[in-house]
Amino acid sequence: MAQHVRDVSPTEEVTSTRRVIAASSVGTLIEWYDFYIFGTLAKIISEQFFPKDNPTAALLATLATFAAGFVIRPFGALFFGRLGDLIGRKYTFLVTLVIMGGSTFAIGLVPGYKTIGFFAPAIVFLLRLLQGLALGGEYGGAATYVAEHSPAGKRGFWTSFIQTTATLGLFLALGVILIVRQTLGVETFGDWGWRIPFILSVFLVAISVFIRMRMSESPLFVKMKKEGKTSANPLAESFKQKDNLKMVLIALLGATAGQGVVWYTGQFYALSFLQNACNIEFVQSNMIISIALLIGTPFFIVFGALSDKIGRKYIMMAGMLIAVIAYRPIYTIMYSDANLKNKVEVVEKKVVSVKNAVKGADSLITTITTKTFTDGTSFKETVKAKFPVDPVLKAALPKDKLKPEIKKEVTLPDNLKYKMIGLVLIQVIFVTMVYGPIAAFLVEIFPTRIRYTSMSLPYHIGNGVFGGLVPLISTRLVEATRPGPGLPPADPLAGLWYPILIAGVSFVIGSLYISNKTNNMDA
């Protein structure tokens, strides 16, 4: 598309191509990294800023987790999308990067609840909202910017680099957290070390801003502006005009909703399932996901490039259909392989240790039981029972306060670990099929004058609302099968019905109504 603006030599064009892709992708990757460290460290953040005994702070914790991801992202899409269609892509996604980096850095510096009281959760909540707002504006800008630089036959390939950034951002977040945690030790990390991944963001953002500042504006936007064809009111034009609204709806229902749930299931739900349903130990579960993400990431580019040859629709729909069919068998195997009931214990290797410590007026009894199984699996159960030393005070406490804290950790042998990596990798491949071509698909169905606004909203509703709700709704569905408090759920796979249903409907709508033809993206 660069040829439309000025004549360039092939060498110059390749260099320019690489620069455009690199500048856009690095910034977007850093934004995803910033967004995910909050989610990945949610438990520690909750302990530092949102103490459970303060109901308002606990409510803010829930809202901080959900509001930023679901409600605010689409608002960010509208706000920055409008700006991007009015003043240009380059400066708009530069602003989102600075807002994201600044708020992430600031979260790393906010004193805890113990130091400044209620201000701590309130400040963190506001900063998290800013993160969501910035993320809502970033992706559409980067995808539009790259697509408007790319030639028609290579748009899927070019934009697929942007598509790798969400997964690489998650990978980077998990990697940095694991390295810092291993280097400092679990206790120091929980104490102050968790701030490092947040503070680190400022350096990454500074580099990215420097690179992006040197980039030129999108050639299609420049051409359109020169001709005076920019939209006066992108929001009204995007959502009040029937011709455009119908494309927004088809993008949401036939593509991004299904893509969102497949994306979240293959990456976040898989991690949550390994840790909570299978009780796989923290480091091992993160390693399984990280390795699968790393191996699977190149497939974003493979499917993006393939979509230039055979069309976007067929690949996205195939990804959704296979995911719908394969989810339950995959998760059944994952659950079965980690289930201790299917394993034979080496009884003579069982070790039980009990420690009794008195801390002030409280007594803390820690019982650690370690079991080994014939297939090489090891299991560690830590039971911490805390109660007042004074028997009168102990008797006065309600039963739920005396409930011991139980932590179960399963460590799989290498062969099962590799099998788990393979099973998660299959899900990452589904993700790459639905997500690899989707940026090109979205930018191609909307006209240049309102592209940033129009593509950003369905993308962030699909990912933020439909996809982002996967953990909440899936957990709820599993809980509904629990026969009683403290008992295991009757169907630990019940959570999969939500992504299966949404992806199934999206597949039917997408197959019926989406065109496989590639648009030329003329201004």
Partner: protein, 76 residues
């Protein structure tokens, strides 16, 4: 193909309309059974955020499909 797209339009619109009473009824039932903060937050998110998006988009999409707005997007 156009006829199928239009007939399915009725399905999408009906799904959009039907989801509202279904979700509200389920929310009221579950909150009445256990009026915990957790229940309130969950159903508030579903009713305030998810349900309106699903209902509005499915109804509007269904009506457009029924009117033949998507007939021209033919490629199968």
């Amino acid at each position: 193909m156009s006829a199928i797209k239009r007939i399915f339009g009725i399905v999408w619109a009906l799904m959009g309309v039907g989801i509202v009473p279904l979700v509200i009824k389920q929310a009221m039932k579950e909150i009445a059974a256990k009026p915990s903060e957790e229940n309130w937050i969950f159903w508030s998110i579903v009713i305030v955020v998810l349900m309106p998006i699903i209902a509005f988009s499915l109804i509007t999409f269904g009506v457009f499909a029924l009117k033949g707005e998507y007939d021209t997007l033919e490629d199968i």
